[in-house]
Point group: C2
Chain length 282, copies 2
């Protein structure tokens, strides 16, 4: 156990989707009991609970919201769809501000139906960032562009590498557009260490750091196959060291989508995560 054990565990955040069996009150209570001080929230359950009520609940539990998932999905070429997507992202920014988080995670969206034009879709992502950045800045929220694993390039996210995310983010001021480093999406990339270095330092783009492990076989649809920390192929400690070397001291958010975790007692899952962080991340 290294000397930074306490500080890293202090920075631990639990993404709500990791324990989707929990209601928002259960999440707030469970994290507070476990000594986990941050939560990453999702828009749909927050809206269902009420944004102001959710903000109060989390604050009253002594927690803070480390990120809101998620905006984005702005690759539509159709002008009406595009305008609707931008409106929805403005609403997401309002929600983020109301929740007191400075980070809105953005998943760019995939190819429009029938399209094979990845460069065009990526350019529309840049356009959307340009449209949203001033609105985000007014609310004190940073747009955090998340590269997703290349297996999602067609139907979910045309931004597949940290290099691509940085190419897009760097068109804008660093305090307005950052990037998300999620180990599940980036672990395979032999350039990711260099790109984390590029993202960090003065004017850092490192807006969020998320952990999940890579396990196989992948399930149908490849959405819900993320592994508990330590169960898979990702060198999580290497990633933690890289983002820290690049100057990142923000939340370390655990985001695992896995029905096997959802089927268990939430408190037990969270205790296991804390233990796994001690063993595989710190």
């Amino acid at each position: 156990m290294s000397h930074n054990t306490p500080s890293l565990l202090d920075r631990l955040s639990l993404n709500q989707e990791t324990v989707r069996q929990w209601s928002l009150p259960e999440l707030a209570d469970g994290c507070a009991r476990a000594g986990v001080r941050g939560v990453g929230l999702w828009r749909a359950p927050v809206q269902q609970f009420g944004v102001a009520a959710a903000a109060r609940l989390i604050r009253d539990a002594g927690l803070r919201v480390t990120s809101l998932c998620r905006g984005g999905f702005f690759t539509a070429a159709d002008p009406v769809e595009r305008a609707a997507a931008l409106d929805d992202n403005r609403a997401a920014l309002d929600e983020a501000a109301a929740l007191g988080t400075d980070t809105l995670v953005l998943v760019s969206g995939g190819l429009p139906p029938g399209s094979r034009d990845l460069p065009g879709a990526r350019e529309r992502v840049a356009d959307a960032l340009g449209e949203l950045a001033p609105y985000a800045a007014e609310r004190g929220v940073r747009l955090a562009l998340e590269p997703l694993h290349p297996m999602y390039a067609a139907d979910r996210c045309v931004v597949s590498t940290l290099a691509q995310a940085l190419d897009l983010a760097e068109r804008f001021p660093a305090d307005r557009v950052g990037v998300v480093v999620d180990t599940y999406h980036l672990w395979w990339d032999d350039t990711v260490g260099a790109q984390i270095g590029r993202a960090g330092g003065a004017g850092s783009r490192l807006a969020a750091f998320q952990l999940a492990d890579w396990v196989t076989p992948l399930p149908e649809g490849v959405l819900l196959g993320r592994g508990q920390l330590g169960d898979g192929s990702v060198d999580l400690r290497w990633f933690r060291e890289r983002v820290e070397t690049a100057g990142y001291r923000g939340p370390v958010e655990v985001e695992i989508f896995n029905p096997a975790l959802w089927a268990r007692d939430g408190a037990e899952v969270l205790a296991e995560i804390v233990q796994r962080v001690r063993t595989h991340v710190v």
Copy 2:
């Protein structure tokens, strides 16, 4: 239809696994009838039929073997496993030579069980190429390293991008170690055009060009979800133009693993492929 229609269709090759419902004699007969002059073969069905008999069958049908799939799987750290893998690759090179193909496709292998060391596994790939290259050269066969989609990095292939494959191949003479450009594995990568350019030209590394389309949702295990040409997100024509601009004039091999194609009449599938090549590739 551009002026190079006839030459591209002349260069068309059918990978055996695309029509695995066909026996080797059916494959030879079906391709000859369809005017497709090349076949990509797999080791297991060739071994079952007999290597010499398969070579004779293909030759007598007026066809040629454009590639043999596949060698590789040499990332084991254990010395005994490693020696066995190298022996098996020497056997694959003997088989390739007997079949009259100059191309042995290599899938590197994934991480050894319990390992998280991607750089180490990739270095063992380089070591294996070094051990096999002289043996391959003696047989007139080129080692064709295939980068596989990053979703296979853990369990199948630690070489995930064309850049990585070239980094490895370039340690050896170009006539001994080349690379495979398979649209299914590389389509998402915004650097692939530049890397195809790097691979081509004088001393070209472009050893094989394979076509499949990307369709979603991916099936469980993500092995058998490749799409018929034109059904998915890949700009196949762009890829064909890029490899031709880089000087490639070799076989254009269609390699689609899809149970829906296997359930149909092989001749009908092949006729559809030829039509799709005319529409989406030429």
